[in-house]
Symmetry: C2
Subunit: 488 residues, 2 copies
């Protein structure tokens, strides 16, 4: 019920948790740091999966499944990789009642186990490329968790590809980044900035990490997907050599890329409001709910009429339900379905029935439109399409309004103000996205982060040509245009 939601203006973090719990998307579990994804949340994940999976297959990728457990010694084989992941591992020391000779970790990501198999499968350039993906859960021990955004266990997909040449691997890295951007924008209605991570923010073991970054309603950034060019790092670590076209042995080139259930958190924090969940129609499990206004003398007739409307909506391919429960008032139901993020509410009472009309209310704007029941399916489809576009446009306008070009340190610090600490404070405290020139030095980055928690989110693609001017942090000559923000 709507009254359970803390308003965003009071406590943005609590608002988020209230939505997740009250819309029954997820719940806390008795396992430290792990959550339960409830059916309403999982149904959204299934639709997100379907959009990605279809595109992965259209671009020649195949799904596979690799073991959950990874020998600890495998992690050691890539130096940066083990340093990055070791602090987060869950370790299996016993199996079948006995202590294991070598402990296993629960996969935090699968580069190592997958490349240990690729060694067996790749002998010649004719075996390449391998374009594999797996849908699974991964585990990264976390002390401070937040439902969907940061949990010890989460669901994701991880693509792992092996290529004959560097150019092909780089092309694959960018292709998958493009797919991530397309699904984020088209289906999740998240306007995202695609770009490269700085050295200090890249994946442990990558040559270069690319990402899509979205702005949440509190103006913080959320990394919504990453695509890594791994060079020959894992090929060398696992000795995956192939005979090239010239007959010489060469190490295979690699990429990996992933999106996770974190995207559900991004959806909520981008579109929802103080009444509850707002979902893009293309991902909403329920796109329309019919709420009949039931009075004793016309109840049977109105319900029969609603059944007809339901059938018409379904025939138009709309995921629609009829809430015929007569133990709850229409007002209670309105609040409940708003909480749950049903895109359209269709109110039908005796007078609507007589006039052949229905009142349709859009979840995002609250806009009410009286509609002829004749042709309701097509009209509802139009409203859903309009809502899909409008969610994206609204989020994009919000990001633009909260993005500022900064020339120097003073402007940058003024834009962000004092950090109020995670979980505290209101949306206004977070500043937004700052665009500024950067010299490329890790020291500049580290100093800014220590002082303000602001980091470089990415170096946006397509905007790195002809950079000239001074680094907004240290004043030295700049090499990149960077997007700065506080982040999740």
């Amino acid at each position: 019920m709507a009254e359970k939601i803390t308003p965003r203006s009071v406590d943005y973090s609590q608002w988020y948790i209230d939505i997740v719990l009250n819309a029954k998307l997820a719940d806390y579990s008795p396992v430290k740091g792990a959550m339960v994804i409830r059916p309403r949340g999982y149904a959204i994940w299934e639709r997100i999966q379907a959009e990605f999976d279809r595109r992965f297959k259209e671009t020649g990728h195949q799904n596979a499944y690799f073991p959950l457990l990874i020998p600890m010694s495998f992690l050691q084989k890539e130096k940066e990789h083990v340093e990055g992941f070791k602090p987060e591992l869950a370790v299996v020391t016993h199996g079948g009642g006995e202590e294991l000779e070598e402990p296993y970790c629960v996969r935090p990501t699968s580069e190592t186990i997958i490349w240990s198999m690729y060694k067996n499968w790749i002998q010649s350039y004719r075996d390449l490329p391998l374009l594999y993906n797996q849908w699974c859960s991964v585990m990264r021990w976390e002390k401070r968790t937040r439902l969907f955004l940061r949990t010890s266990e989460f669901l994701w997909q991880e693509g792992h590809t092996a290529h004959e040449t560097e150019a092909e691997a780089v092309e694959e890295t960018m292709r998958m980044l493009g797919i991530y951007k397309e699904v984020a924008e088209k289906h999740l209605c998240l306007p995202v900035i695609a770009g490269r991570k700085s050295e200090s923010e890249k994946f442990a073991g990558a040559v270069a990490t690319y990402c899509i970054e979205a702005m949440m309603q509190d103006k913080k950034a959320l990394q919504a997907g990453t695509s890594h060019f791994l060079g020959q790092n894992f090929g060398k670590a696992f000795d995956v050599q192939f005979q090239g076209r010239d007959g010489r042995l060469e190490y295979a080139w690699a990429t990996s890329w992933g999106v996770s259930t974190r995207l559900i958190g991004a959806l909520i924090m981008t579109h929802s409001d103080d009444r509850g969940l707002v979902l893009p129609p293309s991902l909403a499990p329920e796109q329309a709910v019919i709420v009949p206004i039931l009075k004793n003398d016309t109840k049977a007739a109105v319900l029969a009429y609603c059944e007809k409307v339901l059938a018409e909506l379904k025939a138009a391919g709309i995921r629609a339900i009829l809430d015929a429960d007569d133990t709850q008032s229409p007002g209670w139901k309105f609040a409940e379905h708003e909480m749950n993020g049903v895109c359209l509410r269709i109110e039908i009472g005796p007078r609507d029935m007589e006039a052949g009309k229905a009142m349709v209310v859009r979840r995002d704007t609250g806009e009410k439109t009286p509609i002829d029941v004749l042709g309701l399916g097509a009209r509802a489809r139009e409203l859903l399409d309009a809502m899909q576009t409008s969610l994206y446009e609204r989020a994009r306008a919000f990001r633009i309004a909260n993005t500022k070009s900064v020339a120097d340190r003073g402007e940058l610090l003024a834009f962000y103000g004092k950090d109020q600490g995670e979980g505290s404070g209101t949306a206004a405290a977070s500043g937004g996205f700052a665009e500024g020139l950067w010299c490329g030095s890790a020291e500049c980055e580290a100093e800014l982060k220590a002082e303000t928690k602001v980091t470089i989110r990415c170096l946006p693609e397509g905007r790195q040509e002809g950079i000239a001017g001074a680094c907004c942090l240290c004043g030295k000559p700049a090499k990149h245009l960077a997007v700065f923000a506080r982040n999740y």
Copy 2:
């Protein structure tokens, strides 16, 4: 390549492994007891999943996701459950660099973690039923493993439902058993016997376990799915009480049910032959392959013609590929696609092209049919449908031919002969299914198993009325009709 396959008559176990490895369905992994499911195997699993998932949703079930790790203390709460699973657990003792206060196990099955959550979600009969399912991996430590059939980690679905009444839970148990039987028969072409397990073979924590049992080509039984009526065992263990219609508190009634990637093993062992994989068309990733017969002077024309045929097959909804590789001979390709279980081979050479014909060869029977290219799509569809029916009928005839009614111990022992030990011996050694009357005593079962490795696979549904006669093991009055077999 076909020459790599050990014939069934020489070594059935090795034949099975040869098929799995050579058709690239799965591979051994560096993790003890765990396998890698390769893309060709995973594609079959995705089709199996789709058939089940659709039916689960049509019968009102929803997917969800529960944590991978389960606190060890949870297992203890149901006495039989912990006794059954404790020897098979993988145990996580460290997380994030520290020893954990309480160790976790990797889920061997999720009754305990799920019922610990149901306690929070079930207060009133209005909250019931909960009809949840999850697709995930589970881990049961195994010393002796066999690809797909018995591995430490496997993929499955586990349904977990909570009900208001015993009758509803029993009805659900049988509904899901029915769905398992339907998909097994209709899509996997596995004729199965649905029945109840004896007390000694039931799931640890169940009141009653129902199963579907299939006969493999070596005449052994394979349990292909189970559906458990759990009574109030987990409701009581996790204190899940609800206010009933009469206002009184009652414990919720439970079911659980699962099928796993083991079904892929069942598919292979039921339908395949000494040339390789044979797959039911409805699950085959590739239903037809066009193999052009290429000669220098007509190569371009034949390839163009094959592309047209490919387009027609695809337009008819057939999953078809064209093998245009000119570095391999047609004969090599025939063997390769037979190994991979492509259902139809379509050979097209210059003379076929001139005559507007193609030669279509069925994978299961080797039958060759010259077909007019005009209307090839429809004709190929007919052949695929015929193959689907025929695989089922052949397997069913095989089971009937290898099922024997036995009246007494002498007949039973004669039917099975001496056990040759697992992995050794030929198909002929395994006997088949024996149907005999049984007194219901666990001692009779245990003695038979110790002596012959033959067990009661199930008490077949619908054949337990009017049982009269003597137990085929001890001669005392019988209570049940039982199906006996050696099993995987």
